[in-house]
């Protein structure tokens, strides 16, 4: 009778797999769904949720948005799990393009990174001419700085600024790399009353007591690009759908929506269209 047991297990396994695959059968027509992988800032700031219904209404496509730091967002393109990327890290984007994954890359909007910190500004960052100067002051005074440390666009930007002043803050007592998204990093910076580099949109949409000490310097421009993932690497990539989004974002209607986003709530736009 014992010899029957493995067979039972086998039968059960087969039944379970059949049942599982039955759940998986409800598939929509492929070309109507666009898998978009975005950086957290455009999602956490609410921009995508605001644009999505209008885009879907105008074109009949369905957007499925997943968001992660730019490094992880681009990785989804590399794995073939996204049709279009919406990211903001020039160095990481160029690497992706050099590997031959991209069909088209369209820079389409920008905003500014901001340096935020405790209201009393212990490092005296306010009034600096550049982000580099502000970082120098933070390092010189040893004021606590929280780094994303997650290979995101913001993290890459931060590293580039440290590099430009030839400082390597890793391991310093005043420097903490937390490996979290922008929202969590702001929460941590707020709890510790520390400085951090943030994109402006996420900062404004986030509830905290930190203050923007420096914004809109030349070295803090933050450009967002759309990258269509090439069908040459993944035959199933919905290039057509991705192109429809790229075309739609350039329409008067979309540009107007982007330019107006945040004005009612924060008194200023969160993103600006590129010409």
């Amino acid at each position: 009778m014992k010899s029957n047991n493995p067979r039972n297990i086998l039968i059960l396994t087969v039944i379970s797999i059949l049942l599982l695959s039955a759940v998986g059968c409800a598939q929509e027509p492929v070309n109507k769904v666009i898998r978009m992988s975005t950086t957290t800032s455009v999602n956490d700031s609410g921009l995508m949720a605001y644009l999505q219904p209008e885009f879907e209404k105008a074109t009949g496509y369905t957007l499925e948005i997943t968001s992660a730091g730019t490094g992880a967002a681009i990785e989804k393109g590399r794995m073939g799990d996204a049709d279009i990327l919406l990211v903001h890290s020039k160095s990481a984007e160029e690497e992706f393009i050099a590997e031959g994954f991209e069909e088209v890359r369209v820079p389409f909007m920008y905003n500014f990174f901001v340096i935020v910190g405790p209201a009393d500004d212990p490092a005296g960052v306010a009034g600096s001419a550049t982000a580099a100067e502000a970082f120098q002051k933070i390092a010189d005074t040893g004021s606590l700085f929280i780094s994303r440390g997650d290979d995101s666009g913001t993290n890459n930007k931060e590293n580039a600024i440290w590099k430009s002043i030839e400082r390597d803050p890793a391991g310093q007592t005043w420097y903490e790399s937390v490996g979290q998204g922008m929202g969590q990093t702001l929460t941590i910076a707020n709890e510790k009353q520390a400085y951090t580099l943030s994109d402006k949109a996420t900062f404004l949409a986030h509830d905290n007591s930190l203050v923007m000490h420096l914004e809109e310097t030349d070295d803090m421009k933050n450009t967002y690009s759309m990258i269509i993932v090439s069908a040459k690497r993944f035959a199933e990539s919905n290039v057509e759908g991705a192109q429809a989004f790229v075309d739609w974002i350039k329409t008067e209607q979309a540009r107007k929506m982007i330019a107006e986003y945040g004005v009612a709530e924060y008194g200023e736009p969160l993103f600006f269209n590129l010409d």
Binding site: N5, L20, V30, R35, D44, Q184
Partner: protein, 228 residues
């Protein structure tokens, strides 16, 4: 007071999104629990009710899987279901089905281990009785299932609790896609990331309320079954 108001608004207000999130959450948890139980309970009975070569090893294996971190299960399913993974052609990544698969991986060992423990304690007596009345081999399974139906409901409920509360794996393989794979836990995480703690707490309390409701219903069923 404001919290109660916002919970009430979330549940019965004009915004349908929360109700939609609850629907996805329940769909995911129910299917995860169903499949995990369909696999886990018979497997647990087989493991607990029989003596065979390799049983200690198999028991250890199940107990090890019990400690499988959700993010590891998530990573495994992510790599399997990714378009560049071996099962990529099924297009399951970032779907509820993917979340169910990851959770079945997590919850089945849990249900098997609990079942094996429960059954194992009484297996000898029951086996002797069954053999005494001439019931052998696989036919015994039916009697074990009937005999333990009441405690099995508790095990299934515990599995359901694990499923509805899990966040790491479902975030990875579900992707928290709005209107599609966003569940209570990933929504709470997202709101927390955005610094909206009030909303996150309201979602958390709502999750507990739903769990309480499901528990109440199932306990009612359990009572009815044991009164039979």
């Amino acid at each position: 007071m404001e919290l109660i108001n916002s919970i009430f608004e979330l549940l019965f207000g004009t915004d349908p999104e929360l109700r939609q999130i609850i629907a996805v959450t329940l769909r995911m948890s129910l299917f995860s629990t169903l499949f995990s139980s369909l696999i886990g309970i018979p497997a647990g009975v087989l493991l607990g009710a029989n003596d065979f070569r390799g049983k200690p090893f198999l028991t250890r294996l199940v107990n090890t899987l019990l400690g499988l971190p959700p993010v590891v299960a998530g990573l495994l399913v992510l790599l399997l279901l990714s378009r560049s993974g071996p099962l990529g052609s099924f297009r399951l990544l970032y779907t509820v089905e993917a979340m169910v698969i990851a959770q079945v991986l997590l919850i089945t060992p849990f249900i098997s281990a609990m079942t094996a423990n429960l059954v194992g304690v009484n297996a000898k007596v029951i086996n002797e009785t069954l053999v005494g009345v001439g019931i052998h081999g696989p036919k015994r399974l039916k009697y074990f299932l009937l005999d333990f139906r009441v405690p099995f409901i508790s095990i299934i409920l515990a599995g359901f609790g694990r499923s509805i509360a899990e966040v790491g794996a479902v975030q990875m393989v579900g992707g928290n896609v709005q209107f599609k794979t966003r569940v209570m836990t990933t929504a709470i995480m997202m709101q927390t990331n955005m610094g909206r703690f009030d909303f996150a707490i309201a979602l958390g309390v709502t999750l507990l309320l739903i769990s309480f409701l499901v528990n109440s219903i199932v306990n009612r069923i359990q009572k009815a079954v044991s009164d039979d």
